[in-house]
């Protein structure tokens, strides 16, 4: 109708837009606008013309430049073309999809594996499809956005319990009326603080109340548990956990997501899960690279040991240098430094980039309320001398940002 004044749908973001513009006006580097002009290796890239140490990539096992992974991708590109151009349910599966799912079944020792186009979509699909209208989801308060969004996409009742608190979960499970289906959602490593979940207690509570359990092991694949399956394997819970979700974007070194399970009817999800069936499948180059990478990760004992050694050394080094760490010890390959405020965090992050260190600036809503982090994650390809250099540059960046504040 004429005369109706238009409402600007982007106006609701004015506050954050103003805050962001103010940040950029201070002359600090844009924490959300880093461009890697060239990537030299899993640990080095050229940013603003300068060689920078990458300390925030999730490239835990350094697979992005593995020659076998690259060769497998190139061969698949030549043999199958650049893309799948459609959904596997509607437009067909390529041999590369079957092969990467077989690699996952071999890696996890499960009967079934379903590959999604990203880890985000794997959680969207699993969470929204497993728990329906009459079911209850119980999720950790610090769950990843993809889990929360999966809850929104589905129709289940959603109950949140305190982060890593088995007693709180137990109390909530007890309050669910008898006869309702229950899905408890956990993560092996929580991606912001890098803390490891007490899965044995949490899964124990879930099973005592007849709940099914899904564990997201995105940040643990390759270096927790005897086979590198994740924290659930390390804590001896392979019989108890019903579904494991993971991603190819971190340890595997490419892109994609998946869920594995021993449930006898798991495969039916392919026909009923919208984030699986209404989107294009992974391109063959990605599926083949992922397959090669997963098969190599089965035997990557030396990489695991290097990653743990570097992670422990970085945690100890930063702590000794006086930084406030998010966890008491190095629980995972995510080593997060707690900052007192958003301003201090941004200033320090920018000073680090000036020193040739790229880490992640993390703030709410990615982090819990009021938590500002400089989040580092290491790779098996960071040497111990790299770690010394990273700590040295953290100390220099702190001096530079204190000079700025004075």
């Amino acid at each position: 109708m004429s005369g109706t004044p238009p409402v600007d749908l982007l106006a609701k973001f004015d506050a954050i837009r103003t805050e962001y513009a103010f940040l950029l006006s201070t002359g600090l580097s844009d924490p959300f606008g880093v461009v890697m002009e060239r990537v030299l290796s899993p640990t080095r890239a050229i940013i603003r013309g300068r060689e920078t140490i990458l300390v925030g990539t999730y490239n835990y096992m350094g697979m992005t430049f593995d020659p076998d992974v690259i060769a497998a991708g190139k061969a698949a590109m030549d043999a199958f073309g650049a893309g799948s151009t459609g959904s596997r349910v509607l437009n067909g599966t390529f041999a590369t999809h079957v092969a990467v799912e077989q690699a996952l079944k071999d890696f996890y020792g499960t009967k079934s594996a379903i590959v999604f186009s990203t880890g985000y979509q794997a959680n969207l699909g699993m969470v929204s499809t497993l728990a329906g209208k009459d079911d209850v989801i119980l999720l950790d308060a610090d769950s990843h956005a993809s889990i929360y969004d999966g809850c929104k996409l589905g129709n289940a009742e959603v109950v949140r319990f305190r982060h890593n608190d088995a007693a709180d979960l137990e109390k909530r499970l007890r309050r669910v009326p008898a006869g309702k289906g229950k899905l408890v959602i956990l993560e092996g490593v929580y991606s912001m603080l890098g803390d490891v979940a007490p899965l044995r207690d949490l899964v124990g509570a879930a099973k005592a109340h007849g709940a099914m359990v899904l564990v997201d092991e995105a940040h643990a694949m390759g270096f927790f548990g005897p086979h590198g399956r994740g924290v659930y394997e390390e804590q001896g819970l392979e019989e108890e956990v019903d579904f494991v979700v993971g991603t190819f974007s971190k340890s595997v070194g490419t892109v994609g997501g998946f869920a594995v399970s021993n449930h006898p009817h798991f495969e039916i999800l392919r026909l009923v899960c919208n984030p699986y069936r209404f989107t294009a499948s992974l391109p063959p180059v990605v599926a083949a690279s992922a397959e090669a990478s997963i098969r190599k990760l089965m035997a990557a004992r030396d990489k695991r040991e290097r990653l743990w050694a570097a992670s422990r050394k970085l945690h100890a080094g930063l702590k000794a240098a006086g930084f406030t760490m998010a966890t008491e010890t190095a629980e995972s390959a995510i080593i997060a430094v707690l900052m007192p405020s958003q301003e201090a965090c941004v200033v320090m992050w920018s000073a680090l980039l000036d020193q040739g260190i790229y880490c992640n600036l993390a703030r709410p809503p990615a982090t819990p309320m009021g938590v500002y982090l400089l989040r580092c994650s290491l790779s098996s390809e960071h040497g111990l001398d790299d770690v010394d250099e990273i700590v040295r540059r953290f100390v220099q960046a702190r001096a530079a940002s204190q000079a700025l504040a004075a």
Partner: protein, 83 residues
């Protein structure tokens, strides 16, 4: 056992008081966000104390519809009746 709405409301006022740092007078139509200025962390703590008081789960899905103290009292009476 069904709870009386009056009893729930009276107890709710008591549970809100520790978080009511600005000493806003509480009534049925007091709004959590606009009048009490609760942030999401405060809401989470308050919800947890209500859950323990009445031994119920307050599903996340309900929260967006609960703007006033009176609406929360209604929701608790309903959840308790269903439990």
């Amino acid at each position: 056992m069904a709870l009386s709405r009056d009893a729930v409301l009276a107890r709710l006022f008591e549970l809100i008081q520790p978080f009511n740092t600005k000493a806003v007078p509480l009534a049925e139509d007091t709004r959590f966000a606009d009048d009490l200025e609760f942030d999401s962390l405060t809401v989470m703590d308050l919800v947890a104390s209500m859950e323990d008081e009445w031994d119920i789960n307050v599903p996340l899905n309900l929260l967006p519809d609960l703007e006033t103290v009176g609406q929360v009292a209604d929701a608790i009476v309903k959840l308790k009746a269903e439990a």
